[in-house]
């Protein structure tokens, strides 16, 4: 076995949705500083795989372990170390962008409004920090969700279709954020059905029907 235990080790995971055998024996290992792109046509279980990895969904067979231990035994430590962004931006329409961040990140670590504004600044939506989320455009909402992932300072990012609704500038921004996250020793698992301009330093996991 390699020296440092992997961040994430997915071992032959099987999941059924009613009669459909959605995930048939998926295996994946990911160490610090690595990026993985999970791709494949719609309905092949990309989101299901992500939900299994982040512990929301318990697989019928197979296991997911974090630094050598099954995630069910180290649940709170594991969840503290991950930031999950689902394909909806998951913002409360009635709360402002800043409030959304404060209530989401504040549950994970003590964070000052200044820090939150800085992460909104980083994703280019500092202007709408005090606007209710329902008035923001889909792209702006996606950027606020990105700011939330940034503000969590989590070593492991699990992003579900993070590039949807993003314009060219947004895509470039997210790509650079992913690269600097990887250089900083963090790891990320990105689900996206389209091609990513990430060049060679992103491994690929192809899910077929």
């Amino acid at each position: 076995m390699n020296t440092a235990p992997d961040d994430i080790c997915v071992d032959r995971v099987h999941v059924w949705r009613g009669d459909r055998h959605v995930l048939k024996g998926v295996s994946l290992a990911m160490g610090p500083g690595q990026l993985v792109h999970v791709s494949g046509p719609n309905g092949t279980g990309k989101t299901t795989l992500l939900r299994v990895i982040c512990g929301l969904l318990r697989p019928e067979q197979g296991s997911v372990s974090w630094r050598g231990q099954p995630i069910s035994t180290v649940r709170s430590e594991y969840q503290a170390a991950l930031a999950y962004a689902s394909h909806e931006p998951a913002l409360k329409g009635d709360l402002t962008a800043l409030e959304n961040l404060r209530f989401a990140v504040g549950l994970k670590r003590r964070v000052s409004p200044g820090e939150l504004r800085a992460s909104l600044e980083q994703t280019g939506v500092a202007a709408c920090a005090d606007l209710p989320a329902r008035v923001l455009s889909a792209g702006q909402r996606r950027r606020v969700a990105m700011a939330r992932v940034l503000a969590m300072n989590a070593p492991l990012w699990l992003l579900d279709e993070p590039f949807t609704n993003l314009d060219a500038a947004g895509t470039g921004l997210l790509t650079s954020l992913l690269q600097s996250h990887a250089q900083g020793g963090g790891s990320a698992l990105v689900v996206a059905h389209q091609e990513l301009a990430m060049g060679r330093d992103m491994r690929r996991l192809e899910l077929t029907a």
Binding site: K24, R203, E206
Partner: protein, 80 residues
Amino acid sequence: MGGGGNQIVTGTGFWSMGGYARYVWPCFAFAGMILGWNLWSARRYRVAAQLRARRALEAAETDRAAPTVVTIPRTAGGKA
């Protein structure tokens, strides 16, 4: 067999249930219905399940799906 009711002697009195026939016989009839319904619906449920299972097995025969996932070895492009 205990004191033994006196209906056996009068025979016809048996069906009148001491004047309460209107309540006793419907109860036993209803009990019979419930017992019957349980048996009938259990059998029907099992047969339907077997049918569905048979049909699913035939469907499974036709499209022997290949394994869906190709795992890329870790060393491909990843940092050490």
